[in-house]
Symmetry: C2
Subunit: 364 residues, 2 copies
């Protein structure tokens, strides 16, 4: 089937770009002896997780139990849940999950770790534990200071826990900033402080897990890293490109959309709004708008209603007309995947597969 035979809006995934992106990270990580544990929130589709594993990934990362369950159902056996799991419902599900997969959970408080420990003991199982540290991003993570170490020791020693090491998220490092190199050096200084605190207390770690997509190919500069958890690298998006971590040719996902109105002067409306592209704004670079139109890169998607993408035709020489289809690289591909029940894999303009986004909407 040709993509012109698809109704719109539709999410297209370019098979060859995916392959290239997977290959590139596999080569890099082998060269630098880093484990890759891709964050599958980007695609939420077991087939793509299996491709990552075939390219040498050590396991996968997810954010929610529901995503882990979908991946375990599809035979993925080594899963890191990089999120503090809280509450009895989740403890029961975690215990069940750990009976059929090797599960590790990142925690940043004794309280959360104790809940997991109790669940593991009750179920007669062991659950892997990483302690998350805040190395600058300021979201989750224990502070890198002496007071945290006794907490880590208590977490390490909880029954039912398999102590595995440390996790951080280097989300604050802006790869295309003039200060990128000094941000990495500062990050290394924080990590060195953490290591010396842990060494002094005799806390060993087998895993130091960090690394996202923007910093993926700088991972060898982070001292002591054993594992990286990039997600977006498999598809890339406008954020990755404008943030200097990929080129437009590296973007595997586009949204196929149709022009449905051009009645208002200086505007055209496409049938992809925030329900299709999400309202996530561009977080990197100096551009604005809600996506890059491949066929009209100078035309901005200036605003989104839920079902309307508002193209600002500005002083563009040419403009798409009603019925014309264009392809849009979205700002943030992970949230786009979460909005769609299915996506189409393409080779050029031929549809070669349809994939159900099995992990979509797993908020719990």
């Amino acid at each position: 089937m040709h993509i012109n035979d698809l109704d719109t809006p539709a999410v297209l995934v370019a098979a060859d770009v995916v392959e290239r992106n997977l290959q590139r990270l596999a080569q890099y990580s082998q060269k630098h002896n880093l484990n890759v544990r891709p964050h599958t929130k980007t695609h939420k589709i077991p087939e793509f997780a299996h491709r990552q594993l075939r390219y040498g990934a050590a396991g996968i990362t997810v954010a929610k139990l529901g995503e882990a369950e979908v991946m375990a159902d599809a035979g993925v056996s080594d899963i890191l849940i990089a999120y503090p799991l809280v509450g009895e419902h989740k403890m029961k599900r975690l215990a069940l999950l750990s009976s059929r997969a090797d599960v590790t959970v990142a925690v940043d408080s004794l309280e959360v770790a104790e809940g997991i420990s109790r669940a593991a003991v009750r179920a007669g199982t062991k659950i892997g534990i990483l302690a998350e540290f805040n190395t600058g991003f300021g979201r989750c993570g224990l502070p890198v200071e002496a007071g945290s170490i006794s907490q880590v020791q208590r977490i390490r020693d909880l029954p039912g826990s398999n102590w595995r090491g440390l996790l951080f998220y280097p989300g604050q490092i802006m790869v295309n900033s003039p200060a990128a190199q000094s941000m990495i050096e500062w990050q290394n200084a924080v990590l060195a402080k953490l290591m010396s605190l842990l060494d002094a207390a005799g806390v060993e770690h087998r895993i130091l897990s960090g690394g996202n997509t923007p910093t993926a190919y700088l991972s060898h500069q982070f001292s002591g890293l054993t594992e990286i958890r990039p997600g977006t690298y498999i598809f890339n998006d406008r954020n990755t490109v404008c943030g200097g971590a990929a080129s437009w040719d590296d973007c595997a996902v586009t949204v196929l959309t149709t022009v449905v109105s051009d009645s208002v002067r200086g505007r055209a409306i496409v049938d992809a709004g925030s329900k299709t592209l999400s309202s996530d704004s561009l977080l990197t670079g100096r551009c604005s708008g809600y996506g890059r139109i491949l066929e009209y890169p100078k035309i901005t998607i200036a605003e989104l209603s839920e079902e309307h993408g508002h193209l600002d035709l500005g002083d563009s020489q040419s403009a798409p007309s009603i019925g014309e289809r264009v392809r849009v690289v979205p700002n943030h591909v992970c949230v786009v995947m979460n909005l769609h029940d299915k996506v189409y894999e393409v080779q050029g303009e031929e549809v070669i597969a349809e994939w159900r986004v099995a992990g979509r909407g797993k908020v719990q």
Copy 2:
């Protein structure tokens, strides 16, 4: 079941608030002799559409064919698709739909109207047509000027079309702005110009459809209006309240969420991020952030990651601790509904029903 027995995050719909919101609009519209055709994109659930119909709605409005199909499946028989439908896939589905429901489509170009006409003729059916005019919002709609009238005449006379009248969307009117009254007067001047152009050309209309939630209770001030299409009024949200069109007590939907981390000073993290609350920012009023926390109205949801709501504890005297559950009124309830497979209807803190969001994700 008590809401404490639900896992989080979970979307709660307060039954009594829904009832009150429906009742209030029904009373107002009866008093002013206005048809109500609610936009069901807000809830996307047939049960709530049926409640709106029981409260006297003349039919429903949807944005997408997929939403119309879901509602027709559930027995809703009078459906306005307020969106320009383009392309052969949609024409086939539209023809099928029109064989089992009374369907009207809003168009703003002869081109789109001709496609619908051809589909109707081919299927041996008739499809209702409204011509959309741009009365100031600047999204879709023919310009209110003499040149548009011949186009409307041609749209009216197309075979297979049931000409029904006119549609506009008064999205530019800011109800709590000091200029609100002059915006309405200007809107009426535009409508008067449109009517005089149509009268001069002998174009009659049975329907003049306008009205959204912010302007719902000002609809009697719009001259010539026969029908209003509010959506959000059934639930309301932070946008509606901060825009001056409802009070917090009128908000039926809250997101139940759990605090999962408080390791970073001055912050707490809840398990509702943009995958739960959407990244839609607040469009009305002077507040910022991504929702109002009922239990801690002074604490801001300052940032969202996909799975993390970042609470800025600022100088709040009290702060929620790990495991504590809070309820959040979202910025924009329609997009929240679109992110969830199911929602829970509650009476106080008792769960009285679970509803599948059957119209969720219908992007086509």
